[in-house]
């Protein structure tokens, strides 16, 4: 479940309460709603354990000390994933602070197909360092939950499958704390401003 769905669900709840209960209760549930989303934004991320593209275990602690742009995707994704990675590598170049100023992290939502070796060849398509991570299905489910990421397998005509997934980039500061997001539709100037903030 992603944040928006959660928020929608909450609003439906709020509506039901408003219809059924006295004004006093309705007001209380209404003031509770923004407080809740703030808490959930604050808890986006957190420590995780996955597998690096080298095949070695990867702890999120390895990201600390450096801000990170985290993107979830899958290596058989022909459009959105390479587009987002291309965009992030360009934004990092435009930032002009060097590759060390920002980690670009790709986490697979397709652990079935995305072995570490598969992720490795995918990352090597880029002429700039990108950290590619995968894991067991259970590990991936856990990390998705922590970051509020939705994904779902969709069968393709002619066999094979694609994966619907949250394409929003999550920005973490150098302590691994959630800072902001970059949406697909967001302009590069806004995205760059957000990256400047975490790399300041």
């Amino acid at each position: 479940m992603n944040l928006k769905q959660l928020r929608l669900g909450l609003w439906v709840l709020v509506g039901l309460v408003a219809a059924g209960l006295v004004v006093f209760l309705w007001q209380e549930s209404k003031t509770e709603q923004p407080a809740f989303s703030q808490t959930s934004l604050g808890t986006i991320g957190g420590p995780f354990n996955l597998t690096a593209s080298s095949g070695k275990p990867f702890s999120s602690a390895e990201l600390n000390g450096k801000p990170a742009a985290v993107f979830f995707g899958f290596t058989h994704c022909p459009d959105v994933c390479p587009t987002t990675l291309a965009r992030l590598t360009k934004l990092r170049r435009d930032l002009g602070k060097g590759n060390d100023a920002l980690s670009i992290v790709f986490i697979s939502v397709d652990p079935e197909r995305d072995t570490p070796a598969e992720v490795d060849t995918y990352m090597k398509l880029y002429d700039t360092p990108v950290i590619g991570l995968t894991g067991t299905p259970a590990q991936i489910e856990q990390v998705k939950k922590q970051f509020g990421i939705f994904s779902r397998k969709v069968e393709q005509p002619g066999g094979g499958y694609s994966v619907d997934h949250t394409a929003t980039v999550i920005l973490l500061d150098r302590n691994g704390q959630f800072s902001s997001t970059i949406a697909m539709e967001e302009g590069n100037d806004v995205a760059l401003a957000k990256l400047r903030r975490i790399t300041a």
Binding site: N2, K4, Q5, T75, H76, P78, D79, V80, P82, T83, L85, A86, R87, T89, K90, E118, T121, Y122, L125, Y126, D127, T128, F150, V154, Q156, P157, G158, G160, S162, D164, H165, T166, A167, T168, A183, M184, E185
Partner: protein, 143 residues
Amino acid sequence: MKRMLFIPSLALLAACGQGGKANIEVSDAWARPTRGDAPGAVYVTIENKGGQDDRLVSVMTDHAAMAMVHQTEMSNGVARMRMAGEINVPAGNSIKMVPGGTHIMLEGLRTPLHTGDSFPLVLKFRESGEEKVSVRVAEAGEQ
């Protein structure tokens, strides 16, 4: 990032003198590199310089088992890729496919796409028939 750009073209003026037939020109076809058995995505610009609407009905290439027009849709931050059906190209208009929107998906590539390579692609239009274009494989980081 814009999904698709409909650029009203000055060609409309020229088209009026052409007796109302569709006149399709396909250009700037490019793809990003792929590896293994992963599918690829091709982006093209289609220009209808004629005076009659046309539709892209199918795409063929020897380089892949299957080529189909796809649409990436975003809702609630979630990206979904679906078959797009026929693409309308009105008279005097052009359609530029850009990443994150409409693309031609290549499944079952004969060989992975390598930067610097090129391969032929045939786009079939309802009125204008087949248009052949050469697809350039760009750098992975191309926007």
